[in-house]
Amino acid sequence: MLITCPYCGPRDVIEFTYQGDGNRERPQPASQDLDAWNAYVYDRLNPAGDHNEIWQHSGGCRAHLRVVRNTLTHEISSVAFTRGDHKVAARHKAEGKL
């Protein structure tokens, strides 16, 4: 399986580390919403098809990547840096971190 890193180009999957499901939304650290924490830790979509994933190019540029991989064919339809991720950036802005 090849993953086309936006910086390094196509590289073998052995250079990459899987960082987990990209659909999870982490509750605020101070949150006491147990259902939200339970969903974050345990609930997975487990789709037979396109799946949002986070990978790190740990054996290359070390960037974290948002990858859409088809769980049936291993076809990768998109790869992007998580850096500058709109959803995360919007949340940081709302929290006054940016």
């Binding site: 180009g9 054996g59 290359g60 960037a63």
Partner: protein, 200 residues
């Protein structure tokens, strides 16, 4: 600065580490291995949005103009610089003291300067079969159009992380962790045996 001892020395018993010709060199030496021992190896990183200022800073200090693009780099023989990740650059100088030269140029507002001079070993592989030997190690395209002179790549051989810069049409400088340098060097020697290699 503290005097550095090469991780490739001393080598009284290991044939591969001694200078001279090794392997199948009767038919000619097609690969030359050497340790370049630069005085300074730095990693520079820019905060998001400050990359252009960092690239300008590299030009100010080293005189090297980095072309645009991922992995782009430049070398003048004594000094080399290349991008190895978004907003991150490796800068190398034969002389010591490069970190202090950058201290006033790359300010904390622009990015960071990390001195890796003692943490990396620089190995040079040159010769007509250098591409061919490296292709046995790394699953990347070493052909000149895909990997132009000056450009850098970060990849790994098994778990040995390596930054590779092409410093000539048939010459590559490889930066590996110092603690892995000896075994990596021996692996390079074994890979070069069948084409004949010389240690300088």
């Amino acid at each position: 600065m503290v005097e550095r001892q090469s991780p490739l020395e001393p080598a009284p018993l290991e044939l591969e580490l001694r200078t001279g010709s090794h392997g199948d060199f009767e038919h000619g030496i097609e690969v030359i291995l050497s340790e370049t021992r630069p005085g300074s190896i730095l990693q520079l990183a820019a905060w998001p949005g400050r990359e252009k200022e960092l690239i300008a800073g590299i030009r100010t200090v080293t005189g090297l103009a980095l072309p645009d693009g991922a992995g782009a780099g430049s070398t003048d023989g004594a000094r080399s610089a290349f991008g190895f990740a978004p907003g991150k650059f490796t800068v190398v100088d034969e002389a010591e003291g490069l970190a202090s030269a950058f201290a006033n140029v790359v300010t904390p507002a622009i990015g960071t300067v990390t001195d890796l001079s003692h943490g990396r070993t620089a190995i040079r592989i040159a010769g007509p079969k250098a591409e061919w030997v490296l292709a046995k190690f790394f699953a990347i395209d070493f052909a000149l159009p895909a990997f132009p002179v000056g450009a850098g790549r970060s990849t790994m051989h098994h778990d040995v992380f390596a930054q590779i810069q092409r410093t000539g049409a048939d010459q590559f400088d490889i930066y590996v962790f110092r603690s892995f340098a000896r075994s990596f060097w021996k692996a390079l020697c074994h890979a070069g045996e069948e084409v004949g290699y010389e240690v300088q």
